[in-house]
């Protein structure tokens, strides 16, 4: 049996918790965790360092509380979904009636670009809905930008506050939200002309361009390898599912490489493309892999076709369109 505000709820109980002070944060989160422990539910804390410290300070070494490294768990939306789904499946297999997770989703206030996390917050309503999960996403109103808070209000069907839990009238259907989401801003490197431009690109040519550019950068070898996989998958998808010609542009910085692959097609029809493994949707698995291994991925459809942007290294905060 599920307990607390989520009692009787089927699937994912997805709550945003907006707070303006440390005390307010603790007033919302601590009872959520204590009730979970009391009910014998798997209760997980996946927060950034300062918030984890606050919880540890308030709850001491509360038996049963599991702490996961927030930065590792929330490195990328697609891998966060993959890891979280695997963890949830394992708890359900062990007989859990409900799993409670409090998790800090990154945003520009914590130094991370928001665009694909906005997609994440919408997509998880679908991606976690086959589990009895009560997930609480705290957002610090002192540091979270207004546009992020606006997206948070559209992507969470529930709101938690110190006063209690209630449904959110501003929640939008995830598919509609994702369709309306505007194109993500370009990387600052894109203000300059690309260092490589291929007007008709094969996977091998894309890999060669990345390898050459990487030789003059400080991007770690493992991340360059991941970008090689990503550009190959993107070019293959463009050839298989898009429309010619398949164009590649590459901007090389010291700390990062930015690659865009464009074709004249309409891009993936699946609104959740890239965030969940879609074995049956055209190109879905390739997109999902790209999203798991790049430091930033954006996709946009414009008048001249579909463009996917992939970043390796340390992504810059995107420019405002």
């Amino acid at each position: 049996m599920r307990t607390g505000a989520a009692a009787g709820h089927q699937g994912y109980f997805h709550e945003a918790a907006l707070y303006g002070s440390d005390d307010e944060f603790l007033a919302i989160v601590v009872p959520f965790l204590e009730d979970g422990l009391k009910a014998g539910e798997p209760t997980l804390v996946v927060l950034d360092e300062p918030n984890e410290k606050l919880i540890r300070g308030a709850m001491g070494r509360a038996a049963g509380l599991s702490f996961l490294n927030g930065a590792a768990q929330y490195a990328r939306p697609a891998s966060a979904i993959r890891k979280q789904r695997s963890m949830l499946a394992s708890h359900v297999a062990d007989g859990a009636a409900q799993i409670r997770v409090v998790g800090d989703v990154p945003h520009p206030g914590t130094g991370v670009c928001w665009d694909w996390w906005a997609r994440y917050e919408a997509a998880v309503n679908h991606a976690y809905d086959d589990f009895p999960l009560w997930g609480m996403c705290p957002y610090d109103t002192r540091t979270t930008p207004d546009d992020v808070l606006a997206d948070v209000a559209r992507t969470h069907p529930r709101i938690a506050s110190a006063a209690g839990h209630h449904s959110n009238d501003g929640f939008e259907d995830p598919i509609g939200f994702l369709a309306r989401l505007g194109p993500a801003g370009p990387d600052p490197l894109e203000l300059a002309p690309p260092s490589v431009e291929l007007k008709s690109c094969t996977p091998a040519a894309a890999r060669e361009a990345v390898l050459r550019a990487a030789a003059g950068s400080d991007v770690p070898a493992a991340e360059v390898d991941d970008l090689l996989i990503a550009v190959s998958e993107a070019v293959a998808n463009a050839h298989r599912h898009g429309k010619p010609s398949v164009r590649l542009r590459l901007w090389a910085g010291w700390e990062r490489l930015v690659v865009t692959v464009a074709d004249r097609g309409r891009g993936p029809a699946d609104p959740f493309a890239g965030l969940v493994p879609a074995r049956n949707s055209p190109g879905g698995l390739g997109l999902w892999i790209i999203h798991q291994i790049c430091a930033r991925v954006t996709m946009c459809v414009g008048e001249d076709g579909f463009t996917i942007r992939m970043v390796a290294g340390k992504p810059g905060l995107p420019l405002t369109l």
Binding site: D225, L228, S232, A236, I293
Partner: protein
Amino acid sequence: MVVTAVGLGPHDHLCWAYDDAAEFRDRAIEFVTEGLAGGYRICYVVDGESARADLAGLEGIQDAIHRGAVQIDSLAERYTAGNVIDPERQVEAYAVATESALAAGFAGLRVVADATHLVGSAEQLDAFARYESLVDRYMAGNPFSALCAYDRAELGDHAIAQLACLHPNANSGATPFHLHSSRDADAGELELSGALDMVSHEVFPLALLRTDPRPIGGELVIDATGLDFVDHNSMLAISELAGRSQATVVLRTSGPMPARLIEILGLCNVRAEPPG
């Protein structure tokens, strides 16, 4: 990838997709000349009457033919031309020929064959590709080397790629990857090299089917030290091979990509490990 047929050893198996007859003849003469110098018996198998003309300029050719060092056969004599090849029987025939060459005092057998006319239909091509893989397994352990020539214009790039990928060596542009028997049994049963991406999306699964490898102790070890790139579709094809073989495929590689994709795709029947 090779640019000539020079410098090949007793177990080499070279595929040469040629664009014109002169190119084929040049490679054949390189291969035969070195074979004779190495003490191998040469078996020259081509269609029609061109063979004697091809070799006419070779110094000492008449003497070599006379003492049995060069045998010139037609395709119909050596293979079941026009029909679908029986891979096992053909390998057996070459094994007998290799033993016979050894018994006659030669260092082994070296074959030059233009097999273009043996792979015209889809059924012929499939059987011949299986034969190429099977005979490669024999070559890996016996002093039998071969130059397999195919006419690119007549067969087309797709058919050429299906054949060339099953050879350890091929000329430029014939295939982006190679899957063949390992020449070093300690390194693995099969050796996989080159790049596996969209370009080999159709040919690689076919190659895996045609190699029909035999797992040992529940494992199928592939020496992938020469594998430069692999995409997720190719990793899924390897996982399907593992499923078919009811074995775990072990990819020996120092490259990070197979392990990365195995983890992301959650493949339970494929493992990547550093070469021993």
